[in-house]
Amino acid sequence: MTLPLRPRAEALAAPLPPLLAEASQLARGVVLGEHGRRRPGMGDAFWQYRTAQPGDPARSIDWRRSARSDVHFVAEKEWQAAQSVVFWVDRGQSMQFSSEKNLVTKADRAALLSLAAAVLLVQAGERVGLTDMGIRPMRGEVQLGRVAERLADKTPQDYGVPDVSILPRHSRAVFISDFMADPGPVEEALATAADRGVQGVLLQVLDPSEEAFPFDGRTVFHSMGNTLEFETRKAGELRDRYLARLARRKERLTAMAGLTGWRFHTHHTNDSPASALLWMYQALEGRA
């Protein structure tokens, strides 16, 4: 845990195959780098031959192939275009929570997951960025460095609000938060994203104690930033009602995601981050 964030993220990303958009190409596993769209277009990789149509520029004709038959063929390349993936990582105070000393905070876990995904995407040639970074998604190691640097920032707010200031059209988005705050802003952000044709995933990172509510006795609960307080004499009796509320929150997020074509997943900080990364990876590529 003492390693800086980026080496840790890279270490996590290392065992994963490069993030490729399509499963078939993943299976072939030959193409490193560009993100094939399985349709003809601009790119370096051969896609198919087709008979030349009127209007095709002459220099697009593949003469070697045409010489073997009577018609002219044009060699089409597979359309390879880099995808933009933007991350919104909740950096509010609530994410700084960890219930036990040997558990990482939710913020740590969220940063790790997002950066790992970014590393994978950059390796796959995609452009990555943060919604609140101020610059458009870019590719390359330098960008990873910027993202990592930016992830270390914290906001003083108790609960983060999704920032959709940079959300290019038809890009992919990853929202990582505990979604404990009022879900209104999240809904708005999702609506905005849907408007821009952006699809993505909602990854809820929770501490195990938030899932189990192992409290009892007279307790004053307060938020990390001390803006909210709640006192109870018998915390144990609240457990069921709390858990019901949590389940309702998850349902609501799932429903919102379903409406907008997003995917929702809950990850706990005491689980392996690799599983969450794998899920994110699959969710991102499944809707390629």
Binding site: P214, D216, F221, F230, R241
Partner: protein
């Protein structure tokens, strides 16, 4: 100090704080346990939830109660509660501790001194000056012997009870010479005294009087008597409130001469009775050996009654001449029988049979001559200490026995015929007895007027006659003559044993004379008249605790004073006059013990053995424990008990409580461990060869003994197949000896003599094949048994009651010289001194062709020397010698020889005469060869 019956408080004003408890209750009740503040991002989801339970925030009642308990315990704890508090020392000015140092105070002497000690400690803290006054040992007149309380404590600890009662009258006189005022602590013995009340009033007039008196009744054991062949034991006590049972034991020497319990009885005081009587039946042999009866468990001169001649019944063999049938009253034995049967065991029969029964006295009534074999046997018996009492008579007068020369069995030569006076055929008046001379055993006996002697045998005048005459008639002719024969004596009464020659046998004087001659014994306490003119020398004396002590050289006591009751001039004990013994006991037959009567206003108190106990520690512990429980309960209430940290806190609290209690347990276990009976150690010692030494009470000496046996054990381990375990220190009073093959007993000058039980155990040990090595450690400067050193003297007194066979210096061919090493000398730190072992039988002979005699079979039970072997053997924990031996190489050689002696010694103990048998090896080999 504020006192609530058994509990007092040092700082009672702290108890005011108890009044604050209700306020505390209200405050605590209003303040529930503080909530935990917990950061929890999920709080956003909780907002708006309500507690189902609408009860107001209050501390639960049981937690409140717990806290109240803790606080109350703390308040009580800090206010210094004390169980059984000593009455606080309030007075000032001098304090007099008045001690009834009588026999009656002896049973609880220690507790009463301790009670006074506590009072003195209090006095010391206030700086009061104290005088300790023992009533039997009054200080000189004219003032209080005041000293500091600490000095007084030392003086008090040195006080011992006397064996006689206290008299308070001299104390009153002494008080008249003191004109100060003072407070008094009177340690009363609880018995009534003539001047006790007067003294108490006088003391009250001087200052505050506190009387400390144990409530237990004082018990006095009255002299044992013989009634109808049974031993009658009776006791009296001072109060009769409750039924009480006491055990009596009769102590006396067994046939081996070792004092042991010979009889046992139980006396039961009924409720309301001050007297208890029981009778036990004892065989005469046993009864005659009983030296004293004592009450078990009560150490006091009053609970011991010494047995004297009244308990003994002498065996008297009566042998008379032939008497004509039917003339019973004329039989020479009739009056003797009448006089002796009540007080002695009378045997009659043939002389040879009677001597075999070893009588104390043989009476020959008018038997002039005996068969030669009987005569020799009788002579031998007299020479061994018998008393032969002969009476004259017609036959003796007629016989020629002792005419020409002195018969060994007659004290004087007799003239032929005798004489008659005052009879019908003779002139003159019947003679009467002359007063007994001062050196006569009959001196002091009153002579009745009506005793008349009409016939007598006359002694041949001679130079020895006057000396041998112990009673004579008014005309100077002998009536009783006596001579000693070796250890015994022969007494001749010059008249007949029947009433023919004189009226003496009809008189009471006859019986008294027989008693004086120790032919018969008294049945009761002698009265002053009987004892007139005798002088009694104390043999053994009782101390206040009822222990017997050798009287040492003390002047004799006139007989008439013996009956006057014990006191400083007549300490209780056993007094002897020639062969007779009279016991002077503290409690006489008619002694009545009455409880002390105190004037109004004096209430005796008795702290007894109850010690002040400071309860504050326990209360504070209780408070701490309650608070610890409160920690757990609070954790539980606030939900901190779940979760890892909560569990850790709870564990810590539990451990904390355990730690507070643990030391108490540990101490209790230590105490349990200190009990002497350690069977496991005994079993371990029995399983291995364990060398043992006798603990002398001198720590340094015991350490040396232990180190010595340790060093010897190491050498044995290295050199031989004997592999002893660590040596063991033995307390011969309490420890089992049988499992140790060898006892090393360093003799220490100040060592207390073992009890008779311990001696019995030691004798059993020696008989069972054990061996004791006595080491006087003095280099035996002046030779064995000379008593030149204190240790040598002590050894003699220590070893006297032991069954030790005749000893001799180790002969050159003793098996000890060759059990492992061949040795000529047996050095320790000293050398060259002879070492003594059981002597070889006189008939030991050198076997043919063998270099050694066939010596005694078995192991010598003792080995006595003064070479300080343990010091030569002793090694410290590093294994190096603790003490130097000799100088340089020669010294080391001497140490080596000392180890060799030790090896031989242990080998001798373990293998017996095995090496002795080795002398037969050539013969055995020769036989096998054939």
């Amino acid at each position: 100090m504020f006192t609530l019956s058994p509990i007092g408080f040092v700082t009672p004003w702290l108890l005011i704080a108890l009044a604050a408890l209700p306020i505390l209750w209200i405050i605590l009740r209003a303040i529930p346990p503080a909530p935990i503040r917990r950061a929890f991002p999920g709080v956003a989801l909780l907002l708006g939830l309500e507690d189902e339970d609408s009860e107001a925030d209050r501390t639960p009642w049981w937690l409140l109660l717990l806290r109240m308990l803790a606080v109350a315990a703390m308040i009580f704890g800090f206010s210094g509660p004390i169980l059984n508090p000593e009455p606080v020392e309030t007075g000032s000015g001098p304090l007099v501790v008045l001690v009834d140092d009588s026999y009656a105070a002896a049973p609880d002497w220690r507790p009463r001194l301790e009670a006074a000690d506590r009072r003195l400690e209090a006095a010391a803290s206030t700086g009061r000056r104290v005088a300790v006054v023992a009533l039997n040992d009054l200080p000189p007149e004219g003032g209080l012997p005041l000293r500091s309380a600490a000095d007084a404590q030392a003086r008090l600890d040195g006080l011992l009870p006397k064996a006689w009662p206290v008299d308070h009258a001299p104390a009153l006189d002494w008080l008249d010479t003191v004109d100060e005022g003072f407070d008094t602590l009177w340690l009363s013995d609880g018995l009534a005294g003539d001047s006790r009340a007067a003294l108490a009033r006088e003391l009250q007039s001087r200052g505050a009087l506190t009387v400390s008196e144990p409530p237990a009744p004082r018990i006095g054991l009255q002299p044992a008597r013989i009634a109808d062949g049974m031993v009658r034991l009776s006791a009296t006590r001072s109060t009769s409130d409750a039924a009480q049972t006491i055990d009596l034991t009769g102590q006396g020497p067994d046939p081996a001469g070792i004092e042991r319990e010979l009889a046992r009885a139980t006396l039961t005081f009924e409720q309301g009775a001050t007297e208890a009587v029981t009778e036990i039946s004892l065989p005469p042999e046993l009864r005659n050996r009983i030296a004293r009866f004592e009450v078990e468990g009560l150490r006091s001169a009053g609970t011991v009654t010494l047995a004297d001649d009244t308990l003994r019944r002498r065996k008297v063999a009566l042998i008379g001449g032939d008497s004509e049938e039917g003339l019973e009253l004329l039989s020479p034995l009739h009056y003797l029988r009448e006089a002796l049967v009540p007080t002695a065991d009378v045997l009659e029969g043939a002389l040879s049979d009677l001597i075999a029964a070893s009588p104390d006295v043989v009476v020959l009534a008018d038997v002039p001559a005996l068969a030669p074999s009987d005569k020799d046997a009788l002579e031998e018996w007299v020479a061994e200490g018998g008393l032969l009492l002969r009476f004259a008579g017609p036959r003796l007068a007629a016989a020629d026995t002792g005419r020409a020369e002195e018969d060994p069995l007659l004290p004087v030569r007799l003239r032929v015929g005798g004489r008659e006076v005052g009879g019908a055929m003779s002139w003159g008046e019947p003679r009467t007895l002359a007063p007994f001379p001062e050196d006569s055993p009959f001196y002091g006996l009153a002579i009745p007027d009506d005793i008349e002697v009409t016939s007598q045998v006359l002694a041949e005048p001679g130079p020895l006659l006057a000396e041998r005459t112990i009673a004579e008639l008014v005309d100077g002719t002998p009536l009783v003559t006596r001579k000693t024969l070796a250890d015994g004596q022969v007494v001749l009464i010059h008249v007949s044993a029947n009433a023919e020659w004189s009226s003496l046998p009809l008189s009471g004087l006859f019986v008294q004379m027989l008693e004086r001659l120790a032919v018969s014994t008294r049945t009761g306490t002698p009265d002053a008249g009987e004892l007139e003119g005798t002088t009694w020398v104390p043999e053994t004396l009782l101390d206040g605790f009822g222990a017997l002590d050798d009287a040492g050289e003390r002047p004799g006591v006139p007989g008439e004073e013996l009956t006057q009751g014990v006191g400083p001039d007549l300490p209780p004990g056993l007094y002897a006059d020639e062969d007779r013994r009279v016991a002077v006991n503290v409690i006489g037959e008619d002694t009545v013990l009455r409880p002390a009567a105190w004037p109004a206003g004096v209430v005796p108190e008795w702290q007894g053995e109850r010690e002040e106990t400071d309860l504050s520690g326990w209360l504070l512990l209780l408070a701490l424990a309650a608070l610890a429980v409160d920690v757990i309960a609070s954790l539980f209430l606030t939900g901190r008990l779940s979760g890892k940290r909560g569990k850790a806190a709870a564990t810590a609290a539990v451990i904390g409580v355990a730690l507070m209690i643990a030391p108490q347990y540990a101490r209790a276990q230590d105490e349990a461990k200190a009990t002497p009976i350690d069977e496991a150690a005994l079993v371990a010692a029995a399983g291995e060869v364990t060398l043992a030494y006798v603990r002398t009470g001198n720590a340094q000496l015991d350490r040396v003994s232990e180190a010595g046996l340790q060093g010897l054990g190491q050498q044995l381990f290295a050199r031989t197949s004997v592999e002893p375990v660590a040596p063991v220190g033995i307390d011969i009073e309490t420890d089992e000896l049988a499992v140790y093959p060898l006892l090393y007993w360093p003799v220490e000058e100040t060592q207390p003599a073992p009890s008779s039980e311990a001696y019995a155990k030691l004798n059993a040990y020696l008989r069972g094949g054990g061996m004791i090595v006595f080491d006087t450690r003095d280099g035996d400067v002046a030779g064995f048994g000379s008593g030149a050193t204190a240790e040598g003297t002590r050894l003699r007194s220590l070893a006297r009651p032991l069954d030790i066979p005749p000893l001799e210096p180790i002969p050159n061919d003793h098996v000890l010289t060759r059990t492992f090493y061949l040795l000529a000398d047996f050095p320790g730190r000293y050398f060259g001194q002879s070492v003594w072992v059981e002597s070889s039988p006189p008939d030991a002979e050198r076997a043919e062709g063998m270099p050694f005699r066939n010596l005694n079979d078995g192991v010598t039970p003792v080995l006595i020397g003064g070479n300080d072997w343990a010091s030569a053997w002793a090694v410290n924990e590093n294994g190096s010698p603790m003490f130097p031996v000799g100088r340089g190489f020669a010294g080391e050689r001497q140490r080596e020889m000392a180890y060799r002696f030790g090896v031989n010694l242990v080998m001798h103990v373990l293998t017996g005469n095995y090496k002795s048998d080795q002398v037969h090896v050539p013969a055995l080999l020769e036989r096998l060869g054939q």
